[in-house]
Amino acid sequence: MLELVHFQILSAALFSIGIFGVLARRSAVLVLISIEIMLNAVNVNLVGIAAFSDRAADVRVFGQILVVFIITIAAAEIGLALAIVLRVFRNRGSANVDELNVMKW
């Protein structure tokens, strides 16, 4: 029997994988990809709770509506962030996060 906890554990696994990617990768593009994985973990969690909630149908669908907004913001984020990465690469010849230490105090 499929239960809510299955969705939650899948979501936790995806989120931890994303955290590992963000912390371990050097390329800024790979860091952004890992952030996408973390956003998808959140979506899996929200969709699972929306499917298993015992509220009325027009209330439980709010979980899915939140996912619509997260997907929108994620699309805006990845477009803008990749444009910034491109600009940084053109200016500095590198897109590795450990070499971008201009603003490091």
Partner: protein, 170 residues
């Protein structure tokens, strides 16, 4: 073991394994393609949870747009020498990830959200179909929905301004 559970385990395994591939592979292009596999498997998970619209949106936006944009970025930021893909802080990152995973699983199992709501199982198609989603989006959530489209427009104009070649422009 119901068929639903088998499908969920299969899709979950594909998602987790290809996500691990994304963060572990040394080849950047392979990482982008494994991200595509992971995101399509998440679309399948959405279908198991009876969220058809989200599954379609996931395939269109992530499978189509985001992967292509990421691939373009990878091609454009490529340098000749293939440097090591990971930080020296990789073991610490693994430790942090495992710690977060353990914490989340303990919290999910201990809090037992499912029983708080006395859930009875996955909602049927009629209960959370397109109709309720559309009604919610265009009544209670109409203003946030329009704001989200405005945010997307502004972000994409900003992205064009940033990525444009200034020397060519003026």
């Amino acid at each position: 073991m119901t068929a639903q559970l088998v499908v969920f385990y299969l899709l979950g395994a594909i998602t987790v394994l290809s996500s691990l591939g994304v963060v572990l592979t040394r080849n950047v292009v392979h990482a982008a393609f494994m991200l595509l596999v992971a995101l399509l498997a998440v679309a399948g998970i959405f279908l198991v949870a009876v969220a058809e619209f989200l599954a379609l949106a996931q395939i269109l936006i992530y499978g189509g747009a985001v992967t292509v944009v990421v691939l373009f970025a990878i091609m454009l930021t490529r340098t000749d020498d293939q440097p090591r893909a990971d930080h020296s802080q990789r073991p610490l990152a693994a430790l942090a990830a495992i710690g977060v995973f353990a914490l989340l699983v303990v919290a999910f199992v201990a809090s037992d959200v499912a029983n708080l709501e006395s859930a009875t199982g996955v909602a049927t198609d009629a209960e959370t179909g397109f109709e309720n989603l559309a009604l919610g989006l265009f009544t209670d959530w109409a203003i946030p929905f329009e704001m989200a489209s405005l945010v997307l427009l502004v972000a994409l104009i900003g992205a064009i301004m940033l990525a444009r070649n200034v020397e060519d422009g003026e």
